[in-house]
């Protein structure tokens, strides 16, 4: 999940870099209609992956504390 989010973010940032160096028609079209959905999906997946990881780590921490006791 985290890798897929990273892939979406990476592609979206590369589309962003295209308009930094060339703001003519085709790069701006890709940036607008492909880049925005990709970065939004990447951010949502990133939040999802991070939340799952934090919950898992909290659970593991709790289990470790129980074992210590």
């Amino acid at each position: 999940m985290a890798r897929f989010a990273a892939l979406l973010i990476l592609v979206s940032q590369l589309l962003l870099l295209r308009i930094v160096f060339d703001t003519t028609g085709p790069p701006s079209t890709w940036f607008t209609f492909v880049g925005h959905p990709l970065v939004a999906a990447g951010a949502v997946l990133g939040i999802w992956a991070l939340t799952r990881r934090l919950i898992r780590e909290a659970h593991e921490h709790k289990m470790a504390e129980r074992e210590d006791h």
Binding site: V20, T23, V39, L50
Partner: protein, 214 residues
């Protein structure tokens, strides 16, 4: 241009906004590559590098593109639909658009946007939405020729410069109350009846048809 001296070089210089975009975007790219290879980032860095920075970079990119898309070169980059307009504006000063452009009555950097954006903030917003529709049409190749305005031209764009100009006020027809009321009620426009259309008819049919006509 250079042989005329530096006074004749347009003072407009592209802003350095792109540097800010790079500063925000490059860490996000590096973090993405790191996650792709290693599987995850430290949790404390994930939220900022993988979520916030890419979104902020896109926000900056939107601002950058909004500004750059006002430029004539941007409009002209949609070759099939816009290059005839672009060419006639540059080379044919017998048309209304070419006349304004060649005389420097509108900015050479933002000529298309100056006339087609409408007046005020709502004009800017409408122009941006229309621009997105044009981008989609160009990407899908679904332009409908001959190109035509979806609604009557916003004469406030003309009046923004002309309303207080002495030569404009001196024209007898402009002082006719009936004509003024018809114009302000949008029952008639500046072009089409009294003034010729801004772009030549053959330029509305796309680059291929324009090349054949010429």
């Amino acid at each position: 241009m250079e042989e005329l001296g530096p006074l004749f070089v347009h003072p407009y210089q592209p802003d350095q906004f792109w540097i800010l975009i790079l500063i925000v975007s490059l860490p996000a790219i590096v973090a993405s590559l790191y996650v792709l290879i290693r599987g995850q980032l430290p949790a404390a860095l994930s939220s900022s590098l993988m979520i916030l920075l890419p979104l902020v970079a896109y926000l900056l990119g939107d601002i950058h593109l909004m500004d750059e898309s006002k430029r004539v070169n941007y409009c002209g980059s949609c070759h099939e639909a816009m290059s005839p307009m672009f060419e006639t504006m540059h080379n044919d000063d017998s048309t209304l658009a070419g006349f304004h452009y060649k005389r420097g009555a509108i900015s050479h950097q933002t000529a298309c946007y100056s006339c087609h954006s409408g007046y005020g903030l709502s004009g800017d917003m409408t122009a941006k939405l229309a621009g997105m529709r044009h981008m989609l049409q160009t990407a899908l190749g679904s332009e409908d020729y001959p190109l035509r305005l979806r609604r009557s031209f916003d004469i406030d764009s003309c009046l923004d410069c002309h309303a207080e100009a002495k030569p404009f006020r001196a024209i007898e027809d402009h002082r006719e109350l009936d004509i003024q009321e018809a114009l302000l009620a949008r029952d008639m426009g500046c072009t089409g009846e009294c003034h010729e259309t801004a772009h030549p008819e053959e330029a509305r049919h796309g680059a291929a048809a324009f090349a054949e006509a010429r």
